[in-house]
Amino acid sequence: MRMGTRIAPTPGRHRFGKNGIGPWLVVPAIALLLIFVIWPLIRTVQLSTYTSDLLGNPTRFVGFDNYIALFSSPDFIRTVFVTIVIALLGMAMATTTAVCAALLLRSRLLGGRVFSIVFSLPFAYSAASASVVFAGLFAPSVGILNVILGYFGVDGPDWLTNPFSAIWAIAIATAWYEFGFAFLVMTAAVRGLAPEVIEAAQLDGAGGLRLAWRVLIPLMRPSILFLTVTQTISGLQTFAQIQVLTKGGPAGSTTTFVYRLYQLAFGNGVPDFGRASVIAIVLVLLVTLITWIQFRLFGREKTS
């Protein structure tokens, strides 16, 4: 009986051809991605060329009017500038510190295991929860951070009320929370280095800083590149830090792409899905461009 069922193909299996149901297993994932990623992207392109009514429904096709209106407004230019500055500052601080920390812990060190865990702790924080911590640190009335800076003789600014220091405050909070993942990735990269190469370099007399700068960092280049790209992309999507710390202020000086999108589409005013969608498209194009550059650079890394 069991033999019989095994040899004779079941009618159900026959209907799906020699592959059985195999190929059909892709359907749930692809369907969900089409509904919740691909279609919304197409719809966003469409919305960006329409004006909307009081409820945000598209009303009239206006071509590139929304684009022109946004690109010609000084506020938007500042948003582009602010977003890129925050993304690059956060990325640069997090990556540099993570490369240093991972390299310093490469060989045995007193308490090395404890230090590794301490350096990984920011990974436990989301952008939102890290921002909440920094909200307490930067709080104007109590200013714990400034009190601590005072111990070292540093007179800290009123972080969130001055446009210049507010951008730094956002970048510092961003860098701190990005550092956790950056450290994990850089530690994995350092562990992946071939020990023979390092030993050969050490026998050649390279040690300490020279070994790190001339040998290890060049070997880690692909990983460092990966990290700078992913962190720049995540920095371009900065939102929680703004929502929790500054609400885009003071006077719009920390308004990023996603925060502007949020204000336009979901803020207190009349929803403007058209212009919000233009910002979304700009974000998609920027991220696609960076991803494309990454692929080009990675391709070159592999062939060289």
Binding site: A29, F119, V147
Partner: protein, 295 residues
């Protein structure tokens, strides 16, 4: 010629002597290294230290008492205030629900898709995989408006399902598992097929167990992404009881009633599960999550 040989011989002897010395004695270099690491660690740890100590001491204790407030000031009052300001237990349950639903769905749909993309040969397989790769490059924040229209349009606002629904499938876990499955010898799949094992059974009892480390990485990625979600949960919920803990805590920080000590108490509560994860599984995070990201 011989002098040259001798020279190189003696220099390599000196090298190995230096090498031995390095192993035995702590060099001045490693003492410097220790203090540099200590300073970086102090800076990284500072926000965590301040938030934990502040959460358990009365507001303003840092200003009155310096970096090390006295243990006698220990209090749970800040947590009491936080618990009264927002429904923290309820929001924790919402977050746990979202994490469970989102992770389970992403792993099941992802494993099924990865299986279909690796083992059976069919037309359109390349196109399907290309589509998955394309979704990896689309920032989630950029497509919230249509998703918002859709999900509120079907009346799901303020539910766990609404928070999870756009993420029941995700590109990255599909990609991770596809790469892992592709490394499984094809003969294993063929042998299972010849044995009469159906696709579903082959996937869940043969292929997935063979790729345990990568599947674990995918689960951890999905769970962390679900737990850390902020923008979408903020948009699609507007009652305190339906919010995730991440959104709830951020609202606590924004409310005028909360002083920094209460905000810190909230920050402590939201981060405890992931802090434990990092302390317990730091090695796995490096070897699984971080190494997986590099591939």
């Amino acid at each position: 010629m011989s002098a040259l040989q001798l020279d190189s011989l003696s220099s390599s002897a000196a090298d190995s002597a230096r090498h031995r010395k390095r192993v035995r004695l702590p060099r001045p270099g490693s003492i410097v290294r220790f203090f540099v690491v200590l300073i970086i660690a102090a800076i990284i740890f500072l926000p965590i230290y301040v938030s934990f100590v502040s959460a358990f001491t009365p507001n303003g204790s840092f200003i009155r008492q310096g970096l090390f407030p006295s243990l006698a000031d220990f209090t749970l009052k800040n947590f009491d205030t936080a618990f009264n300001a927002i429904p923290i237990v309820q929001q924790y349950l919402v977050s746990i629900g979202v994490v469970t639903l989102q992770t389970a769905a992403q792993i099941v749909t992802g494993a099924l898709a990865a299986y279909a993309l690796v083992f059976p040969k069919w037309r359109g397989r390349g196109v399907a995989f290309a589509l998955v790769l394309v979704t990896l490059a689309i920032p989630g924040e950029a497509i919230v408006i249509p998703n918002y229209e859709l999900v509120s349009g079907i009346g799901l606002r303020n539910t766990i399902l609404a928070v999870a629904i756009p993420f029941l499938a995700a590109g990255y876990p599909i990609f991770l598992m596809r790469q892992a499955f592709a490394a499984v010898p094809f003969e294993i799949w063929e042998a299972a097929k010849l044995d009469g094992s159906g696709d579903i059974r082959t996937l869940f009892s043969i292929i997935m167990p063979a790729c345990k480390p990568q599947v674990t990485t995918a689960i951890m990625w999905s769970a962390l992404a679900a737990w850390n979600g902020f923008f979408w949960p903020l948009l699609i919920t507007d009652t305190a009881d339906s919010r995730t803990i991440q959104v709830g805590i951020s609202q606590l920080a924004a409310s005028d009633a909360a002083n920094p000590a209460v905000i810190f108490a909230g920050a402590v509560l939201v981060v405890i599960p992931t802090i434990i994860l990092v302390i317990v599984a730091q090695r796995f995070l490096v070897n699984g999550l971080a190494r997986g990201a590099l591939r």
